[in-house]
Amino acid sequence: MSADAAAPRIAVVPSPPALLPSYAGRQDPLPEVRAAAVEACRWLLAPGPSEVVVLADALGARVGVSLLAAAGWTGAVRAVGVPGEAGVPPDPGAPAAPPDALLVVADGSARRTEKAPGHLDGRAHPYDERTGRALAAGDAATLADLDTDLGVELLAAGTPALRALGALVGTRSVSAEVDYEGDPFGVAYWVVRWTCRS
């Protein structure tokens, strides 16, 4: 129990701008995704971390901070950028090991259906399935190895953050819980909780 409480917690949530209060309509188009993401943030905050590290691109960081606020977090947030493209150097402020509370804001391909933002690309489903399996299995090595160039072609905005997550967790043992997996508007979203065991 005490060992679990000290174990680094990692939550992976998606980054649709529709989750931001500034884009709120009168009805929430993503009630399930929002509920799962906020609940995962609450779980992240439950042990009382001194700060939350947010690993995301610029949009993801906005969404992440907003979800943390919705979960009741008023403490420190340290946003860590991710290289947006191959060849961009990593953020010098990036942690070397998983912090106590890490929020990864990342999603999969936006080309999963004909009505998806990027229309249908046949490669999107296998690409996202591999990512989803890795997230569900706590498989950091597969995430670290995600294809960056293909991710760009598939409008998978979360690929750099997920690769960074994989590299950060490395060979540590992870227990994983999947709270949400879906693509209601043709973009792959996951809400996943990881606890690093060692």
Partner: protein
Amino acid sequence: MTLRLGRHRFDDDATLMMAIVNRTPDSFYDRGATWAEDRAFDRVVQVVEEGAEIVDIGGVKAAPGEVIDAEEECRRVVGFVERVRSAFPDLVISVDTWRAPVARAVCEAGADVLNDAWGGADPALVDVAAAHGAAIICTHTGGQTPRTRPHRVEYDDVVADVLRDTLAYAERAVAAGVDPASVVIDPAHDFGKNTLHSLEVTRRLGEMTATGWPVLVSLSHKDFVGETLDVPLTDRLTGTLAATAVCALAGARIFRVHDVVPTRQTVDMVGSIAGRRRPARLIRGLA
């Protein structure tokens, strides 16, 4: 300002649909379709399902015709108001009447609003509103006698006349003890006005909303639409909705209508264009 309509309150930015329910055999648009009480009740059920916040029950048609005295008007509306009140406790009930004795009877039966289409022709109406905590709609008729048509009416400035009369009526209501949050002004399109007057009132409605009093507009299928577009009674919805959009943009709060759903959509669309209302759902480009 916050609006209080009898037992109901509405936020500053709320727009309201007031659905017309006639207990008359001869009103201009529906021509007696809801003359039978059960048909009128069916109409109430329908407009509530369509989202109307208010029903406006009338027992006397506005145009000249068979004389309907206060007793007959009461026979047409008082029992009906009671029936609607008990079936729909959350619905705002307005009664279209200019007569204080009728107003007293319908307030006792559960009415929330007195819609005086005839500009205060009965000076005691405000006292009834005050005594019963009812709201009052203060209209402009240019001094027309109830149930008369305008004939060769001219104004130096129709909007100035509308403002002078409706504001004087509003102040008289407040002086009589009506809650200022329960006073609404209405330029009364077509009442004491030719088509050019009604068009000008529409074009300059912002001068009414700028007074701070909530503004009601009653545009539905009226002659100024018919004359402007040269269309018969059956073909005035498009023109009605165009006028509705202009009034909504100017900030009108209450829309007295035959067609609840198209008017609601028009008003909501304009409200969102004006930045006063969040769209229903936002996902395009934001998934």
